[in-house]
């Protein structure tokens, strides 16, 4: 499948420049099958898909599409797949699927006919494949016709731009573009949010450093005073979160003398063994 994707973009690149779209051309290009491996590789790449390859084989064998000698064609088809594999050309899943279909048809053809079914009602196991090939063939011809039309069209030109033409960047609005634009807006919003989060984290880190510095000399800082210094709601929240973070890290200790009294922040010294009042309950109580 990867292969198909690539081809889409390079379909008419220099190596393919000589061919014009359409069944015939593709087939003829391939039928000039070269002997050397390198050339072989190039020719194989011409097949757009399993139906293309089959049509090529049918034409090469000069057999009727309505009466395909399925055993012979299947053998050739498999030979081609093998060649592709040997040449290390990735064989797309569709080619393998067709191989399975061919083998199935071949085995159905070998089955003895049920004598109970009248001859005119026996269904040819190839019928579906033939229809598919015919249909495919028609569309290839249609593609060729479209290409010819486009070539003629490209030889006519419309007027140069006038001042009256809109200055807006051309935004023709197909429904998929609307969706794409919507996705773009959303991803832009996401990017902005990410920047904001990043900025917030930075400030949070700054606050933590600031608090650590304030209590580093063994001094005591009033939580209320610190909250009051906040210039915005956001900063207030950040200070609050920074304090919580430091309590969690066991870097500071919160103390409250009486129930409605000041909460004081001090640096927490290393403690050997945690007593009855653990750091969590202590900090938690103070904050509540």
């Amino acid at each position: 499948m990867e292969k198909t994707k690539e081809k889409d973009e390079t379909g008419f690149s220099p190596s393919g420049a000589a061919r014009t779209p359409g069944a015939q051309t593709a087939l003829e290009a391939s039928s000039a099958a070269a002997e050397s491996a390198d050339q072989y590789k190039v020719k194989l790449a011409v097949f757009e898909g399993p139906l293309d390859l089959l049509l090529f084989l049918i034409r090469k064998e000069e057999v009727s599409i309505y009466d395909i000698p399925i055993a012979r064609v299947t053998q050739q088809y498999l030979d081609y797949l093998r060649a592709m594999q040997e040449l290390d050309i990735g064989v797309a899943g569709e080619f393998l699927l067709m191989a399975a279909t061919l083998i199935q048809i071949k085995s159905q053809m070998l089955l003895p006919r049920d004598p109970a079914i009248p001859e005119d009602q026996v269904e040819d196991p190839r019928a579906e494949l033939v229809n598919q090939l015919l249909e495919h063939q028609k569309f290839k011809a249609a593609a060729n016709a479209l290409h010819q039309r486009a070539t003629i069209e490209s030889a006519t030109f419309t007027r140069g731009e006038l001042e009256t033409d809109k200055e807006n960047p051309e935004v023709s609005s197909t429904i998929f573009q609307l969706f794409e634009v919507f996705q773009e807006v959303l991803s832009r919003k996401r990017a902005i949010t990410e920047i904001e989060i990043a900025r917030e984290e930075l400030t949070m880190a700054e606050k933590i450093t600031e608090i650590k510095r304030l209590v580093s000399g063994g001094g005591t800082v009033s939580a209320r005073e610190m909250f009051e210094r906040a210039r915005s709601r956001r900063e207030l929240v950040l200070i609050f979160l920074a304090v919580l973070e430091l309590v969690k890290e066991l870097a500071i200790r919160l103390k409250q003398a009486d129930t409605f009294g000041e909460i004081l922040i001090t640096k927490r010294e290393e403690e050997a063994g945690a007593g009855g009042a653990g750091p969590d309950s202590e900090g938690g109580a103070a904050i509540n």
Partner: protein, 177 residues
């Protein structure tokens, strides 16, 4: 208004318009004039361009009229514009486009069915080139998106409408030759 009077007005309107100008648009601008008269004026205008051997012609494209240079002078125009022929469509894209043009509206799985090969990247190319448009979801399991051709498609291939596409059945029996 007489048709003779309508002609130059219509000519200037078609010239100014960036897109093919439809009879309906002309009727809306030329209040009080009948669609029949306007159409007759357009026809006559087109005939006159041809008769005087102008470098331009009045073409009917995508349901409207537009002025364009004549094919026989393309070499000079190209030389002047140094125009690169616009990026050609790949074989895969053209075949996919043909299937969509004749079978629209059609879903990606249905295209796969016909082409025997996945066409998603071709479809992406065609959407990017605005040759096809989404035509809503099909009311079947998975609700796949349906695709059809656009106005750009008609313009790109110089068609007035989809009925101008050659009959698909005419392409039959190419194998027997």
């Amino acid at each position: 208004m007489m048709i003779e009077e309508l002609k130059p007005i219509i000519e200037s309107l078609i010239f100014v318009s960036e897109e093919p100008m439809s009879i309906r648009q002309l009727v809306a601008i030329l209040e009080g004039e009948s669609a029949e008269d306007i159409e007759a004026a357009c026809e006559e205008l087109g005939r006159e361009f041809n008769e005087r051997g102008s470098g331009l012609e009045l073409r009917q494209v995508a349901g409207g009229y537009r002025l364009a240079t004549r094919v026989e002078f393309s070499e000079y125009v190209r030389r002047y514009l140094k125009a690169q022929p616009s990026a050609r469509l790949s074989l895969a894209a053209l075949e996919t486009l043909a299937v969509i043009a004749y079978k629209q509206p059609i879903t990606i799985p249905e295209i796969l069915e016909i082409r025997g090969v996945t066409s998603t990247s071709a479809i992406k190319t065609l959407l990017d080139r605005r040759l096809i448009v989404a035509k809503g979801h099909k009311q079947v399991v998975g609700r796949p998106m349906m695709y059809g051709t656009s106005k750009e498609f008609l313009i790109h291939f110089g068609l007035n409408d989809l009925s101008e596409l050659p009959n698909l059945e005419d392409f039959e029996d190419l194998m027997s030759s």
